[in-house]
Amino acid sequence: MRRDAGWWVLLLPAFLLMTIFYLAPIAQVLAISVTEPTPGLGNYERLFTNPAVQRVIGTTLRICIITTLISLALGYVLAYVIALASPRAQRWWLLGVLVPLWISVLVRAFAWVTLLRRQGLVNQGLQGMGVIDEPLQLVWNEFGIVVGMVHYMVPYAVLPMLASMREIDPRVLAAARGLGASRFTAFTRVFLPLSAPGLAAAAVLVFIVTLGFYITPAILGGGKTLMAAEWIKLQILDLVRWGLGAMLATVMVLTILVTLAVFSRVIDLGRMFGAQR
C-alpha cells in the first residue's frame, strides 16, 4: 500500500499541472458559455437559430470528414507498403513519414500557398504544359484547406494503422493464398479486417485533431472559408463576444468526448494509444 502511495506522489505534479492549466480553463470556458452576455442557455440557442453558426459548423464538419477520408486512404496505402517492406526499408519509410512532423505548421501552410497560388508552381506548371489556359483557384478556398490539412494529418493516420498491420502474421496472408484466395481476396477477406482496428483508431485520431485546426485553415482559407477554431478566435478577440465563442468551444470539446466515447465501445482505446494490457 505504501509503495502505491509513493507512485501517486510522483504523479502529483503532472496531475496538478493538468488540473490548474488545462481542466480549470476549460471549466471556465464552459462557465462563460452559460453566463455571458446574460446567464442562461441563450448562446446554445443560436446553434439552432443562427445561420452563421450553423454554416461554420457545417463547413468544419465537411472539411474534417473529407480530410479524414483522404488522409485515411493515403495513409492506409503508405502503412501497407511500410508494413510489407523489409526492416531496413521500413526505417527509411518511417523517417520519411515522421520528418514532416518536425516542420512548423506555419512554414508548411505558407509553403502550400506559394505552391498553389495563381502564380505558383502548380498553376505555372499546368499552364506551361498546356493543360489549362487560366490559373486554377487552388488556394484561399476549401480545396486549399483540405490540401494543407491532409498533408499535416497523413503521418497521424499512418502510425496507428501501421501499428495494427505489424501485428498481422504474414503467414496468415500466405495461408489465404494457399487456400485458394487471389491477392485481392486475401486482402479484402484477411488483411483488411485484421487491420480494421488500426483504421478505426486512425479515423478517430485524425478526425479529432482536424476539428481543432486553426493555423492551416486561417492561412490557406485566406479568411474566406471559416472553420470553427478561427471563428471562435474571431468572436472572442475581434468581436468580443465571449459567450458565443465559448459556446462553440464547449460544443467542440463535447463533440470530441462523444466521438471518443462511441469509439471506445467499439475498439480498445488504451491499445490504440499504445497502452500495454
Binding site: D169, R171, V172, A174, A175, A176, R177, G178, L179, G180, A181, S182, T185, R189, V190, P193, L194
Partner: protein
Amino acid sequence: MTEAHALALRGLTKRYGSFTAVDDVSLTVERGAFLTLLGPSGSGKTTILMAIAGFTAPTAGAILLDGADITALPPEKRDFGMVFQGYALFPHMTVAENVAFPLRVRGMGKAEREAKVRAALDLVQLDRFAERRPAQLSGGQQQRVALARALVFEPNLLLLDEPLSALDKKLRAELQEELRALHRRIGRTFVNVTHDQEEALSLSDQVAILNHGRLIQLGAPAALYDRPRTRFVADFLGISNFIRGRVTEARPDGFALTIGATRLVQAGAAPGAEALLSLRPEKIALLGEGETADNTVEGAITSWLYLGTGYALHVRVPDLGDLRVALPAWRAPIAPREGLTLRLGWPAEAAVPVEDDDAA
C-alpha cells in the same frame, strides 16, 4: 472423393544470390503416398515445400502434378491444402469460418459449404468448437483446425510444414497417430516437412533426407534406417557406430576389413580399398560363455545410461574405439558397471558399408 495425385520434382534448384538453398533435387511422390522431407535446419526442406506450394519461384527445374508442369502456377491456382508452421489460422474468424474460407473463395453455396465444414470438423473431432475463435483453442486443437481447413476443399495435395513442432511431446505422439490414421482414411497424397527423425519414421511411406540443399537418400523409413547410403543418413536417422578400416580380403559373400590388429567380416561388395561401416547399437549382441558370432570383440564399459526399456552402453574396444551398444533391460544378463569387460558380437550382415559424406 477425388483420386489422389502424383507429384514430381525435376532438378529443382533455388539460389539466393550465391547461396544455393536447394540443389538439383529430383524426386517422385506416388499417388496417395505420405512423403516426408527430413533434414536439419538449412537443409532446404522448407524451401522445397514453399516451391511446391507456389510461394517460392524456383531458380531452375520443374514441378509436375500428374505429369503436368505447374511450376509457374500461382499458389491459389494449385489447389493444394497447406498446414503452416504455427497454423496461421485467421484470428478474426471463428473455427467454422476458418474452415469455410477455402470454400467461400471458391464461390460454393451456403448449404453445401456448411455441410462440408461440418464433415471436415467431424473428421478432426472439433464439431463442438465450431463457434470458437482460434485464440480460445489449445495448440493441438488449433492444429486440427488447420488440418480441417486444409482438407475441406479436397485439395490435390496436402502440404504440412512442421505441423507438430509447436506441441509438447505427448500431444505430438498422439497427433502423429491421428495424422497417420487420417492419411490412411482419406487416401490423399501428403507432403510433410520436419526436422524430427522420429516423426519422419513413424508417419511416412517415403522419407527424403536432405542436407545442404541436396537430396541424400529417398526411401521407405525401414530401408533408410537399415540401409543408409551415406554416413550423414546413418547419423541423422537414429544412432550409429562408425568403423573405418582397410579392405584386406574379398570373399564370395562379402569382404574382410582390418583395423589395427582387429579383423572383421562384412557382407556386401567392398566399396574400394577402404570401407566405412555403419553399425546400429541394437544390432550388437552381448555374447555369453561359448557363444560365437561372425565378428567378436572384447571391451570394457566406460559409461552407461539406464533408459527404462534398456541400457545405453559405451564400450571401449581396442582398435575400434568407443562402441555404443543397446542392451534390453528386461532380463539383461549383466548388471552394467564401469570397467566391466564384455564380449560383443554381430553377424556379417549387421553393419552396412556407407559412403563418407559427412566429415563432421
